[in-house]
């Protein structure tokens, strides 16, 4: 059975109920931009722990997915850069949290591969560094590549600009970042948006994420981060 054609518009609290202890959760965003702040706040308030957080970075301790790390809710973080959130490094060094880092281009491509049905991909990035450790190296036409594997999650929290009731999404500015890739790579996709319009009101040429990928829609909240970004 398919997903409902018209997607439910729910409260952030209702939306994150599908996230259970031990789940893997993708969270869109780069630095402080394009983060689904209303959803990460609701997940933080829900108190769910033992999470595997998959987000490019862990921003600051006091906002977005950074709160999940600082609040001890994550057993593992999969990211590319965690320098802005001092707690991430500290918990890792104290052995209290696992940390898996990938070069950012590899990181997003792993997610893309996960959502696009690929068994992996070959990248020259990381050859000759600790990134290649434990991975298969292939030589193609005399050049070495690392075989990197796909990455998927139980739930993805993404931030878009406008949605129609079918869940089609458009984005603004640099807020796309990892969001469109993550929307393809999780079993359940929840989109936080500025505005929800009727079907047919979005220009089909401007739709980046297809509504068939999206399960629930949530309007952005009025926190200082969510409302402005």
């Amino acid at each position: 059975m398919g997903k409902p054609v018209i997607k439910p518009v729910v409260s952030p609290q209702e939306a994150v109920k599908c996230i259970k202890q031990g789940d893997s959760v993708m969270v869109g965003g780069f630095n402080w931009g394009g983060i689904p702040y209303t959803l990460t706040d609701a997940l933080y308030d829900q108190g769910t722990d033992d999470l595997t957080l998959i987000s490019n970075d862990t921003i600051y301790e006091y906002c977005g997915q950074g709160k999940l790390v600082a609040g001890g809710r994550c057993k593992k973080v999969i990211a590319s850069h965690v320098g802005l959130n001092k707690t991430t490094g500290r918990l890792f060094h104290e052995g209290k949290m696992e940390l898996e880092l990938y070069p950012q281009g590899t990181y997003v491509e792993k997610i893309r591969a996960g959502g696009a049905g690929l068994g992996g991909f070959l990248t020259p990035t990381g050859i000759g560094t600790v990134v290649e450790k434990g991975k298969q190296i292939l030589e193609i036409n005399g050049k070495k590549y690392i075989l990197e594997l796909p990455l998927t999650a139980d739930v993805a929290l993404v931030r878009a600009y406008r949605a129609d009731r079918m869940g089609n999404l458009t984005y603004r500015g640099t807020n796309q970042n990892f969001n469109p890739a993550m929307a393809t790579a999780a079993k359940i996709v929840i989109a936080e948006v500025d505005e929800i319009v009727n079907v047919g009101e979005l220009d089909p040429n401007s739709i980046i994420t297809q509504g068939i990928l999206v399960d629930m829609l949530v309007l952005k909240g009025d926190s200082i981060y969510a409302s402005r970004t």
Partner: protein, 226 residues
């Protein structure tokens, strides 16, 4: 000992020197810190296209009215110049890894005479992560390292062999410090320019790497610009 320069002078001097390297129409990605300043010093009449790895090309100065949906890789607000565009991270790293970016400028913890660099992990101390650096140095056609000549403790940042975990192997083309400019070609490092405050001996004493000296060795370019 190296002379002490004001921190602002150091940062501007390095940025100005690197800004001389780009041709009209080239696509350049700037890292965080000193590299970010490079865009302020592109000589007039040249149009260099700046790319931000979080998903923008053709970036311009900060906006007069804030738009928090448009940020650069360092988290500062940006604008787009006419002809610029926004896109996703997978497209962005396709541009980077695919060889469509002409040059990248980034800072480092260590850089060595073979063109290796280390800038993402000090084991046991800090682990900020590599972010986009590994893809940038592998994908960009030319790699510029912008760094102070020595660490805050006075140790050379330009060394024989990087001791910290590498970002990439043999990728650096040029190293610019506040006192000197080095090129690295076919695994060999060469000093090509030197700042007026320092002697060749001072550079030798404060550089861990072995390097050749260009004939002629010329004064560091870009200093005449106020």
């Amino acid at each position: 000992m190296l002379p002490e320069l004001d921190e602002k002078v150091v940062r501007e001097r390095i940025a100005k020197r690197i800004a001389l390297e780009f041709e009209d129409g080239e696509v350049v990605n700037l890292g965080i810190g000193i590299p970010t300043l490079v865009s302020d010093y592109i000589p007039e009449g040249k149009r260099v296209i700046f790319q931000a790895e979080n998903g923008a090309i053709g970036t311009g100065p900060p906006p007069e009215t804030p738009n928090y949906k448009c940020i650069g890789a360092g988290g500062r607000l940006i604008t787009l110049l006419p002809g610029g565009s926004y896109f996703s991270s997978d497209t962005s790293f396709g541009l980077i890894r695919g060889g469509h970016v002409d040059a990248t400028v980034l800072g480092t913890l260590e850089v060595d005479q073979h063109g290796n660099l280390s800038n993402w992990w000090v084991p046991g101390k800090s682990l900020p992560g590599m972010g986009g650096a590994m893809d940038l140095v592998v994908g960009a056609k030319r790699v510029y390292v912008a760094t102070t000549h020595v660490t805050k403790k006075g140790n050379p940042k330009i060394v024989k062999e990087c001791k910290l975990p590498l970002t990439a192997v043999g990728v650096v083309d040029m190293v610019v410090t506040e006192f000197a400019v080095f090129t690295i070609t076919d695994g060999k490092m060469k000093l090509i320019e030197i700042a007026p405050e320092v002697t060749l001996d001072q550079i030798k004493e404060n550089t861990g790497a072995e390097f050749e000296i260009a004939e002629p060795l010329v004064p560091m370019k870009g200093l005449e610009v106020a």
